[in-house]
Subunit: 227 residues, 2 copies
């Protein structure tokens, strides 16, 4: 076997997970239907953080809190950063990409809805332990074009979410450039690039499988937290 990639352990070494919201038109439309936002493209990417304690590696059980309303999957391409950078240009942005992962931006949707209504932070709705399951690392050298990846997700074997990264509003280099105008990116940081349409509930007992076609698959079982 070859040496592991230097960024294969990003989930252990990285310090931040920067998430992008509303980066696919069809997902914005489905949120608008339930009153979660206006059906329009934001002027700049919507950016928020998940703590690294929300990571779960492929195969680990996802232990979800109970009594907080609906918990949903958002299937997203993740970009792992390979160096410290600030104010990087869109033109140079691909040079700071170590590789990719598939991630689920797990979201306590009812908690988020209440936060949005009252102007409060999204952190709790996005930040529980196990709210960021991720696949194994895929090296950048194995991906010809990050804007032509097919993402898919099944629950208990049934198709539930799929999408192509071709439909992103802001591309991977545009997102890296934008985020780096606000905060320094560091080696091992992850940028989750937003979800296509088709978000839906995850409940204890579900088995979630997901993949990037041709690159990686992952599988998780949902269990309920017992305190």
């Amino acid at each position: 076997a070859s040496q592991p990639h230097p960024f294969a352990n990003f989930a252990t070494t990285g310090k931040k997970i920067v998430c992008v919201g509303k980066n696919y038109r069809a997902h914005i439309a489905e949120l608008a239907v339930i009153g979660l936002c206006e059906d329009e493209k934001p002027k700049v990417p919507v950016v928020f953080l998940k703590p690294t304690t929300s990571y779960s590696l492929n195969g680990q059980p996802l232990v979800f809190p109970t009594g907080i309303g609906e918990i949903q999957h958002e299937l997203e391409l993740g970009v792992v950063i390979n160096t410290t950078c600030k104010n990087i240009s869109e033109k140079d942005a691909m040079s700071v990409v170590a590789g990719y992962v598939l991630g689920i931006d797990v979201t306590a949707r009812d908690v988020q809805l209440e936060a949005k209504r009252s102007g409060m932070p999204w952190t709790v709705s996005k930040g529980y332990d196990d709210f960021c399951p991720v696949s194994d690392f895929v090296a950048a050298s194995d991906v010809t074009d990050p804007q032509s990846l097919e993402l898919w997700l099944k629950i208990n074997g049934a198709d539930r979410q799929s999408g192509s990264t071709a439909n992103m509003i802001w591309s991977v280099p545009q997102l890296i450039a934008y985020v780096s105008t606000i905060m320094t990116l560091e080696p091992g940081d992850l940028i989750l690039t937003g979800t296509p349409e088709g978000v839906g509930p995850l409940v204890p007992g579900d088995t979630v499988s997901a993949g990037i076609t041709g690159h990686t698959t992952m599988k998780f079982e949902i269990v309920a937290e017992t305190k």
Copy 2:
């Protein structure tokens, strides 16, 4: 000289900064005046994250972005965590405190106001580089009672903010217990416990000094980012 405290370098090793909003009644009242919230105690602590790239150590220049409206200081007691813990009880919470720091939860107030109005995340308003200047570490063993500390802040020598941690709505152990119901806390994590009243602008050219009476002082110069 004695050995450095094992958590003196929390800003380098720690992975998250968990901030608490609206933890002093008089600060809630001053936010309500400018339409930023209702003048009432929240039902649970308001929790959000800053990235660790926002840390600045005592004495470093604070390089602030330009063109984003007013940038304000929020003077806060910080609590450094010494171990990995989840669902810790209020009764046991003080045992996971390594020590304390003084921190400024620097806030792009106009950006935050717009985020609140549109139900968007607070992350950008709180997450720029240098938006979390902190003092040197104060060991827990040097602090008799974290709820009787006097915090003060001056700009260019003039008194601008002061408060006593006696006026917190939720105490240090209550905050640790609450946050740990959502996310695992890890060694070196920082919890910023909210600001007393008296928040106000910071502009390039200002020198900010601040302290915890009897424990520590810190000093920072504000400069404008040039891209």
